[in-house]
């Protein structure tokens, strides 16, 4: 088979779970948060790509499936910007 079989993806997913758990014992603060979220993003990407058929889907379907991420980003980024700049001189 040209691409990874579902079982291989599953093994990678479990490995990433182990990785994020291990990282939580070593890393902390913003670095820890970044790594944890990065690993979660990779895991989700694998699920979307292989299990949720984006691998074989048309561009339209890919946009439909992932377009909302942009709006999630807008929500998080603007609100964070507010909190980080409150009380500055």
């Amino acid at each position: 088979m040209r691409t990874a079989s579902p079982v291989v993806v599953w093994i990678v997913l479990l490995a990433l779970l182990g990785l994020t758990l291990a990282a939580s014992f070593v890393l902390s603060g913003m670095i820890g948060l970044t790594v944890a979220l990065a690993v979660a993003s990779v895991k989700s990407g694998l699920v979307f790509w292989r299990y949720m058929h984006l691998r074989e889907a048309s561009g339209l379907l890919r946009i439909a499936a992932l377009g909302a991420l942009f709006w999630v980003f807008v929500l998080l980024a603007f609100v964070t910007a507010d909190y980080l700049t409150r009380g500055l001189a």
């Binding site: 807008v74 603007f78 609100v79 910007a81 507010d82």
Partner: protein, 555 residues
């Protein structure tokens, strides 16, 4: 895989087309039982179901507005108690926003026209469409329960900590009603998006879509992306109020401003849910009235998309005086002003379309003209409010109230009536009295301005919103506003008389009573259940009117 063309276009008995001769005559004749309406999956019948439902809520919300305006006749607020007044304006807001304005044009005209305009037989998911109406009705029943059980007094914004800790009344029930209505919005938006992508007839390219379809598409994006954020926000309010699971409660380190961020992330784009379909309707009405191709089609279509996307970046302008960071406020102020660009593109292009057109002063066009004028006033005052420094002074005054009523009532409701007058002959196959139509358009315009223009002055002079006891010097303007509301109320009732009269006694409309372009006018009035006898094929641009040039024979 065998790709089979279905339905067979030669054979009317093919299951792809309507089964019975009555269905082939018109969707209205396809069954007269209650069941044939309540279990229909025909987008046209569901549109009529929505039309009836939202009209009902329009008058419930209108009754609440009447109470508010009556109470404001005297400076002492003699008619209603303080709580009664709070409940009246809250109910007015909740019902008008979620049970009239948001579903108004998309769920009635969008449902009816979208498949017709793109040459489809129905929406992508017909049964989901019906489900969406039932969910909407469930939400409506919950709202009526709120009304009967004593109402709610938080204002339509449900601001915490008022809503979660202090307010009396049916806050959770009202939030549930809005939550449920949100599902209806999401499912409808999803249905429209997939329909536009997957069910356009041959030749109906993106560059040939009617502008109403573009605006409904842009609206649907907002419905799908913004509504869930409101749902979770209301769920958090309910969790705090019911179970004490506070996340906005300052006592546990929460921030009430976070609620406002979440609420306005939905509710500002929701303003565009209300006005974008209206902009689409007016584009149709203007082109039809001028008998000219729309000026700058790509820009008008693109501006709908631009408004939909930009609308997500401006919510912070509702929070200028709330304690939000002033840097965030400055950015939000700048972005809010930017929305004026696509809005301006639309107004200029409509004007350019009308220039040297053969304008006919039919009722739909009068409503469109009313819309353009009121939208410009509402939009320009919006620009004033987007200015950070000015907003600090007029925030939470009647200036704001007047501004958004110019957009939502003067704009969206005028467009709704314009659409009703334009497509009524198509929907029911009957003509109505044009004289009465012009008269009601005129009265609605005058009544509206008399109601809301004084409110700009009131706000500028310092009258805060949501107060019913006010200094006596404001009384003259309040009385003027209430008098205007009386005229407006009567003017809104008028169309019901002559439109219903037309249902029975109006002369047959013919397929294309206005003599305009568009696929919906090429089928019968009212359309058959399957919309088109043969799948239409589009081979030209939209609004393909003949334009007389200098040197033409009869020019």
């Amino acid at each position: 895989m065998t790709l089979q063309e279905r339905p067979d276009r030669e054979n009317l008995a093919d299951t792809g087309l309507s089964e019975t001769p009555a269905e082939r005559v018109s969707y209205l004749r396809a069954g007269h039982t209650l069941k044939s309406w309540l279990l229909t999956t025909d987008h046209k019948r569901i549109a009529i179901l929505y039309l009836i439902s939202i009209t009902f809520f329009f008058f419930v919300g209108g009754a609440a507005a009447a109470l508010v305006r009556l109470d404001l006749l005297t400076p002492a607020g003699d008619l209603l108690s303080n709580e009664g007044y709070n409940r009246a304006f809250t109910l007015h807001g909740v019902i008008m926003v979620w049970f009239f304005l948001i579903p108004s044009i998309p769920n009635t005209f969008g449902n009816f026209l979208l498949p017709l305009m793109i040459g489809a037989r129905d929406l992508a998911f017909p049964r989901l469409n019906l489900l969406s109406w039932y969910i909407f009705m469930l939400a409506g029943l919950l709202t009526l329960a709120v009304l009967i059980l004593g109402g709610v007094d938080t204002g339509w914004t449900f601001y915490t900590p008022l809503s979660s800790m202090f307010a009396h009344g049916q806050v959770v029930l009202a939030a549930t009603a809005v939550f449920v209505a949100g599902f209806s919005s999401i499912l409808t938006g999803l249905n429209f998006i997939v329909t536009v992508h997957k069910l356009r007839c041959p030749g109906m390219t993106w560059g040939r879509l009617p502008l109403f379809v573009w605006s409904i598409y842009a609206t649907s994006l907002i419905l799908v992306l913004a509504t869930p954020v409101l749902s979770i926000t209301l769920a958090l309010i309910a969790a705090e109020r019911l179970f004490g699971l506070g996340v906005f409660d300052p006592a546990v380190g929460g921030d009430p401003l976070l609620y406002q961020h979440l609420f306005w992330f939905y509710s500002h784009p929701a303003v565009y849910i209300m006005v974008l379909p209206a902009l689409g309707v007016v584009s149709e009405l203007v082109a039809a009235a001028a008998r000219k191709p729309i000026f700058g089609y790509a820009f008008v279509a693109g501006s709908s998309m631009a408004i939909a996307v930009l609308g997500f970046f401006v919510w912070g302008h509702h929070m200028f005086v709330s304690g939000q960071s002033m840097y965030a406020s400055a950015v939000f102020s700048f972005l809010s002003i930017a929305v004026a660009i696509p809005s301006g593109v639309k107004v200029y292009n409509w004007t350019a379309t009308l220039y040297k057109g053969h304008i006919s002063l039919d009722p739909p066009f009068l409503f469109a003209m009313a819309f353009i004028g009121l939208f410009v006033v509402g939009g320009l005052t919006g620009l004033i409010l987007a200015m950070l420094a000015v907003d600090v002074h007029v925030h939470d005054t009647y200036f704001v109230v007047a501004h958004f009523h110019y957009i939502m009532v003067g704009g969206a409701v005028s467009a709704f009536f314009g659409a009703l007058h334009f497509w009524w002959p198509k929907m029911f196959g009957r003509r109505y009295s044009l004289v009465w139509g012009r008269l009601s358009a005129l009265l609605i315009f005058l009544g509206f301005n008399l109601t809301f223009f004084p409110q700009f002055l009131l706000g500028y002079l310092g009258m805060p919103r949501r107060y019913h006891v006010y200094p006596p010097e404001f009384q003259v303007l309040h009385v003027l506003s209430s008098a205007g509301a009386g005229i407006l109320g009567l003017a809104y009732l008028m169309p019901f008389a002559y439109l219903f009269y037309a249902l029975r006694y109006g002369p047959p409309a013919g397929d294309n009573p206005w003599g305009v372009t568009g696929l919906e006018w090429q089928t019968r009035s009212p359309p058959p259940k399957h919309n088109f006898d043969a799948v239409p094929v589009v081979d030209g641009p939209p609004y393909d009117y003949h334009v007389e040039m200098e040197g033409d024979e009869d020019g």
